[in-house]
């Protein structure tokens, strides 16, 4: 008797559970990096899209990487519809068959009438991914505590002239590039040097010089916080996070663009996404000329479409021109490196292993 009751109870609760997931199936789940960045997307993409189509959007945060996409696709239960990823992750996930392919020719033409494939900046459209922004890793300092602040990447590694703790992202990527630039390697030669074992040794040797002064961060929201708390004197960070701390919260932070390593963020659709068609529609909408330009008024990341640039104006609630704040602004690009996704796809595992071994020593 009790057993049948129990079974009946289980059956009912299962039915309720499956019913409740079915009820959410119509919502579009958009996954991004959280904080100021997700906020800019909510303002520039989500809200106008909801107003236009009436589709409900569920926004989720994550910390990058393709592990969750892989787990969902392999389990055959894909709950994410569209995800904002870094370039090397987009390439790798695409190579491994985890993503839907996206035909770039179906994207809307630019506001100036140019076809999408012409309008997007070179190297921003891929088989499974469409870039929305250009972002950058830079370093920043608190100008109220350092009136004569650092100017170059070499200064970041100069603990005598600029004493204090340094914040660095925990991982080999970008740190090795920074180390080489600080050691005098020209921006254009960084990856050819890194491809040699001596180059890797050289980068680690340079990192060794500041190892004792480093505080490691992992989430993008950490560095502005660490800088504000005085936990670090200088820190590497994503440029948009620092800009928003300055523009939004009035923090006295200063960005040093010398040696910046810029990269792309792209939309991808996991294979088997429940709302694939809506996701594609959302992707096309959010990467249109106007929406990309609108996002640039909430965070200082450069739009991936050429036709968006002329429309980029001021910060949404302050009189700050966004143009000079962009990683792609010519004045900021004088000594800049584009993240080489192929180098990192090939060497990330090995270099991170060495990085971890180096850290643990």
């Amino acid at each position: 008797m009790t057993l049948t009751k129990l079974l009946a109870g289980t059956a009912i609760s299962l039915a309720i559970a499956s019913g409740s997931t079915a009820a959410f199936a119509g919502d579009l789940t958009v996954v991004s990096w959280g904080g100021a960045y997700t906020k800019s997307q909510v303002e520039a993409y989500h809200k106008p899209y909801i107003a236009k189509t009436g589709t409900n959007i569920k926004s989720e945060d994550y910390n990058g990487g393709i592990a969750e996409i892989k787990a969902q696709v392999e389990a055959g239960n894909v709950t994410w519809d569209i995800v904002d990823v870094e370039l090397s992750d987009a390439i790798r996930a695409c190579d491994e068959g985890l993503l839907e392919t996206i035909d770039a020719s179906t994207l809307p033409a630019g506001a100036d009438g140019k076809a999408a494939t012409e309008d997007f900046l070179p190297g921003t459209l891929y088989d499974c991914a469409v870039a929305n922004i250009v972002w950058s890793t830079i370093f920043a300092y608190d100008s109220s505590k350092m009136p004569n602040g650092p100017k170059t990447m070499a200064d970041f590694f100069d603990t005598k002239a600029f004493p204090g703790k340094r914040g660095l992202r925990k991982g080999a990527k970008v740190n090795l590039e920074f180390a080489l630039i600080a050691d005098g390697v020209a921006a254009k030669d960084v990856y050819s040097v890194l491809e040699t074992p001596e180059g890797v040794d050289r980068a680690f040797a340079k990192l060794d010089t500041i190892k004792g002064d480093v505080v490691w961060w992992e989430a993008g929201a950490q560095p502005p916080q660490m800088l504000a708390d005085g936990e670090v004197a200088l820190t590497t960070a994503y440029n948009g996070r620092i800009f928003n701390a300055v523009a939004g919260e009035g923090k006295p932070f200063e960005i040093v663009w010398d040696g910046q390593v810029w990269d792309l963020d792209l939309w991808v659709i996991p294979k088997g996404a429940k709302n694939k068609d809506t996701a594609l529609d959302f992707l096309a909408f959010s990467t249109s000329t106007e929406q990309l330009a609108a996002q640039a008024s909430y965070i200082s990341y450069g739009p991936a479409r050429a036709s968006s640039s002329p429309l980029v104006g001021k910060f949404h609630n302050k009189d700050i021109d966004m143009g000079p704040q962009m990683p792609t602004n010519p004045a900021n690009l004088t000594n800049a490196v584009q993240n080489n996704f192929e180098f990192w796809a090939d060497n990330a595992d090995q270099l991170n292993e060495r990085f971890n071994a180096w850290l643990a020593k």
Binding site: V73, A345, D346, D349, Q350, W358, A360
Partner: protein
């Protein structure tokens, strides 16, 4: 002899006959069968009652752990992506120093072109490239790039055509690695987990010193776990003694102080330690306020080993206190009084009478704390910084970030073996039957 006597004898004979034959139950079946039948029914019912638990253990424990162990050895990436090639390469004798034959190259190029078209999860060129890249770092793009062009090679000689695409293909070690990886079962991941690798000649050697990480971290995990267990013991023993000797009302109140943190979320407690120990945190502030240290020389107490040890001792402390308390509670105070009345000093009585009786509690507490500590993940991840990491953090890294699940599984399997070895040693030293958890 009277009739009755004869009757009695007849009955006896009858009884004897019955006794010699099987006992019969009321319904005529032999009693033994009947008993077996009823006990079998009862056993079945009892077993059916445990079925949910058995199923639960099988589904949630045995199968996943089995899969994990399996994954550490089993990686079919190459044979999934290139079914024909992975069979053909087995005929190649790599010890001759020659590259594989032209036929094998032809099969390879054709398989590569076919694989390029495949978008099925787990069967793409990317999967194979990732697999080979684990053993030959930097070779990933060689596969993905060449696969894009492999379809254009339609006629021989295939070897030259492939070398023309990229001269990196002309590498004996690359083909040796491919042959090794085309075997679905491999020990490569266990080698990597033990900081070893195959060298150019195909022999197993230790990894380059700069890349050795897993064994040192495993050792550090064991050392720190031992230290945490020791600290827990030193703190918990007096606390448990106090709790067991105080009057019930007071000890209950104190017990709540022990249990309250135990019931509080792990994350909350860990975050509380961050607030306490960080450089701008409460403890440093107090030190600066008291003038013990200068504002410039605040002590780094978190995001390193110290932080990990402090917060883990706090978090695991109840697991030591509770078994100790439950054992101490059962030791009658009269034993100590008796020892003292016979002239033993306090120390002597404690050493010879009280302490030996608490050993089952100590054994249970240290085993619990040590084994929990070895596999701890969240606290070291939050407060460990760069040098307070545990092996489980590296496992999580491979499952979550690098997606090298095989290496993660191999590391987890090694951790499992280490825990089992400790359990076995413990059993030999203390005896598991002596454990008392309360």
């Amino acid at each position: 002899m009277s009739d009755t006597a004869i009757n009695t004898m007849g009955n006896k004979a009858q009884n004897a006959a019955v006794n010699n034959g099987p006992l019969i139950a009321a319904d005529g079946t032999p009693l033994k069968q009947k008993l077996a039948k009823t006990t079998r029914a009862m056993k079945t019912r009892a077993f059916l009652l445990t079925m949910p638990l058995v199923l639960f253990i099988i589904i949630s424990f045995v199968i996943p752990i089995g899969q994990m162990l399996h994954r550490g050895f089993y990686n079919p990436a190459v044979s999934n992506v290139m079914p024909s090639f992975s069979v053909a390469i087995k005929d190649w004798d790599e010890t001759t120093g020659e590259l594989p034959s032209e036929e094998i190259f032809e099969i390879f190029v054709k398989d590569l072109a076919l694989a390029k078209k495949n978008r099925e999860v787990g069967k793409t060129v990317g999967n194979m490239a990732t697999r080979i890249n684990y053993e030959l770092p930097g070779s990933r793009s060689l596969f993905t790039k060449s696969a894009r062009k492999a379809g254009k090679i339609t006629e021989g000689p295939y070897k030259e055509a492939l070398f023309a695409l990229d001269k990196k293909w002309d590498n004996h070690n690359l083909w040796r690695t491919l042959k090794r990886a085309s075997n679905d079962y491999t020990i490569s991941f266990f080698l990597a987990a033990l900081d070893m690798k195959y060298d150019e000649a195909g022999n197993i050697t230790r990894a380059d010193e700069l890349y050795r990480i897993y064994v040192p971290i495993l050792m550090k995990t064991l050392l720190l776990s031992a230290l945490i267990t020791l600290l827990c013991f030193l703190i918990a023993y007096p606390v448990a003694y106090l709790l067991s000797t105080l009057p019930l009302a007071t000890s209950n109140l104190l017990m709540i102080l022990v249990l309250l943190p135990f019931w509080t979320s792990l994350l909350v407690r860990t975050s509380a330690w961050i607030a306490m120990l960080q450089q701008q945190g409460i403890i440093n502030n107090i030190f600066v306020f008291l003038g013990l240290i200068g504002d410039e020389s605040r002590i780094q107490m978190i995001y390193n080993q110290t932080g990990t040890v402090i917060s883990m001792v706090h978090i695991l402390l109840p697991f030591m206190i509770l078994p100790l308390y439950s054992v101490m509670k059962t030791i009658p105070p009269s034993y100590m009084r008796a020892a003292k009345s016979m002239g033993a000093t306090n120390t002597y009585a404690f050493r010879r009478v009280y302490f030996p009786q608490t050993i089952p509690g100590i054994a249970a507490g240290t085993l619990l704390v040590f084994i929990l500590a070895i596999g701890y993940y969240i606290t070291p991840a939050l407060v460990g910084g760069s040098d307070g990491l545990f092996i489980s953090n590296l496992i999580a890294d491979h499952i979550k970030k690098t997606l090298n699940w095989s290496l993660g599984s191999a590391l987890a399997a090694i951790l499992l073996v280490v825990v089992m070895v400790f359990y076995w040693m413990y059993n030999r030293l203390v005896g598991v039957d002596k454990l008392k958890f309360g």
